[in-house]
């Protein structure tokens, strides 16, 4: 099967501010290479500051790389595409506070010209999306602050699925939720993947979660890719000392 995503020599350097004399450049990511097959889950693990969020933003084209390429489905993508969507970490901050859920969820449909405003089919589609993430249709008329963290994250997922993406980037999507809710969300992710034929890049710092769901894992340390292997290999015979340290700490 051909690769859904190929990342070649991807680097991102943030230039230092020489005007104030503090001219150090920050190498957020350095020469990252990996591939991703369709319908698989690739996990990216690392401590804070390792570059995982930068990687997420590069993959979804919110920022441009300093060098290297992101090849999606054999095409080099220059700008945002509806085939790749992202879920962010903080459900309390990712939904515009003054918009109803209905408007928030319908937005991607308008932005990508899938539907016109006020058409009747929108309603059905929105209800369908909510049902997929286990929420009732009366959520549509409410505002984000009326929902819990877990529910808001479900709304974000429903929104991301509106344009029928193929690849979902999940940037620590459950880290800020209670453990009991995390379990339910993980089940939801797996169910959706199966039902809709999705591919995931799952960024996390929780090794237990990653071990459960990932097919392959990337270990990032301070912008460098230190290990890249299938999940079973990583846990049975970790090669890099940093990987070993991570696994020890999680035990």
């Amino acid at each position: 099967m051909k690769n859904l995503l190929e990342v070649k020599n991807l680097s991102k350097i943030y230039k230092g501010n020489s005007f104030f004399g503090n001219a150090k450049d920050v190498k957020a990511l350095n020469d990252i290479n990996f591939t991703l097959k369709p319908y698989e889950i690739l996990s990216v693990i690392g401590e804070s500051g390792c570059g995982k969020s930068t990687l997420a933003k590069l993959l979804i084209k919110l920022i441009t790389p300093s060098s290297g390429q992101v090849i999606y489905d054999t095409r080099i993508i220059e700008k945002l595409t509806k085939d790749v969507q992202i879920i962010f970490q903080n459900p309390y901050q990712s939904l515009s506070p003054r918009m109803r859920i209905r408007d928030l969820m319908a937005e991607p449909l308008f932005i990508h010209h899938i539907a016109k405003k006020n058409s009747k089919d929108i309603n059905n589609r929105l209800e369908e999306l909510l049902k997929m993430v286990g929420m009732e249709k009366d959520a549509l008329e409410r505002f984000p602050h009326q929902f819990s963290g877990g529910q808001r994250q479900r709304i974000c997922i429903a929104r991301a699925l509106a344009c029928e993406p193929k690849l979902l980037i999940l940037d620590e999507p459950i880290s800020s939720l209670d453990l009991t809710i995390q379990v339910k969300m993980l089940d939801l992710f797996l169910e959706l993947k199966k039902k809709l034929g999705l591919t995931y890049i799952f960024i996390s710092h929780n090794l237990a979660v990653v071990k459960k769901i990932a097919d392959s894992i990337l270990i990032l340390k301070e912008g460098e890719l230190v290990e890249n292997n299938r999940t079973s290999e990583i846990f049975v015979s970790p090669k890099h000392p940093y990987t070993k340290k991570l696994i020890e700490a999680a035990k």
Binding site: G149, L179, V183
Partner: protein, 264 residues
């Protein structure tokens, strides 16, 4: 062993206009000296409010409506605000989740530490300086001189949390209440901080009340676990019991989550 903390049937209400919302209901908890207790429950179960109620640092809309609390045998609810101020930071210290929010951004680390030290112990500036460096060493900060000289925003989350712990230890407290101190940190740092807390507890002999929603922390450090749900304590047992034979349905939920994704 003597009981350092005894809370019986504590209830705390929020009053918003005409509505009353019970945040804590019939909360009962006890701690022995030198014990580590984990208070576990989901977000919104009232754990934080219950812990703040003990020294009456409650938000304006919250009121204690019932219950008793004894610290070292003395009734906490009978104490005046001045007596409580003498207690807070000295005998009962708190550690919270986001150190950057609680550390003053315009003062250097050393100044904040010295402020607390001098406030409670009335010693000379030179002695305070020595004590400050001692404390930074205790929390395993490698270069206390340099770290003391910089500002909170220049340090990482993990380092700030260590500083916060140093602040909590400044006056040799008898009880430390830690409210989700490692939730915002990554795995490696969390493991380090937990181990450090356990070491310090062993060395200095304080009692530790650790609040979290993650039972894997309980497995690592707790003597006993109290499970809280919707404002009430639903189960309390020795740690091994909680994991081996959880009785209440919410304990089972927490243990189930732990089994699935809380442990490797």
């Amino acid at each position: 062993m003597k009981k350092i903390l005894e809370v019986k049937n504590l209830s705390v209400e929020f009053r918003i206009e005409e509505k009353r919302i019970e945040a804590v209901r019939n909360f009962t908890l006890d701690m022995e000296e030198k014990e580590i207790i984990v208070l576990a429950g989901e977000s919104g179960s009232g754990k934080t409010i219950a812990s703040l109620a003990l020294t009456r640092i409650l938000p304006a809309l919250a009121k204690i409506t019932a219950g008793e609390a004894y610290f070292e045998g003395k009734d906490l609810f009978l104490k005046t605000e001045i007596e409580l101020q003498a207690l807070r930071g000295a005998k009962i210290s708190y550690i919270f989740q986001e150190p950057l929010v609680y550390l003053n951004p315009v003062f250097k680390i050393s100044e904040q530490l010295k402020e607390t030290i001098i406030y409670h112990d009335k010693i000379s500036p030179e002695e305070a300086n020595k004590r400050m460096l001692e404390l930074l060493n205790l929390v395993k900060i490698i270069d206390p001189e340099t770290v003391g000289n910089i500002y909170p925003h220049q340090l990482s989350g993990g380092m700030n949390q260590r500083v916060f712990i140093a602040l909590a230890l400044a006056s040799n407290p008898k009880l430390i209440i830690a409210d989700e101190p490692t939730t915002a940190l990554d795995v490696i740092t969390e493991a380090q901080i937990l181990e450090m807390l356990k070491d310090l507890q062993n060395k200095l002999g304080f009692s530790l009340l650790f609040i979290t929603h993650n039972l894997s922390i309980a497995k690592k450090i707790a003597n006993r676990v109290f499970i809280m749900h919707r404002g009430e304590i639903v189960e309390s047992e020795k740690t091994a019991e909680i994991f081996n034979s959880p009785k209440h349905i919410h304990t089972k939920e927490l243990v189930y989550a732990y089994e699935k994704i809380g442990k490797l």
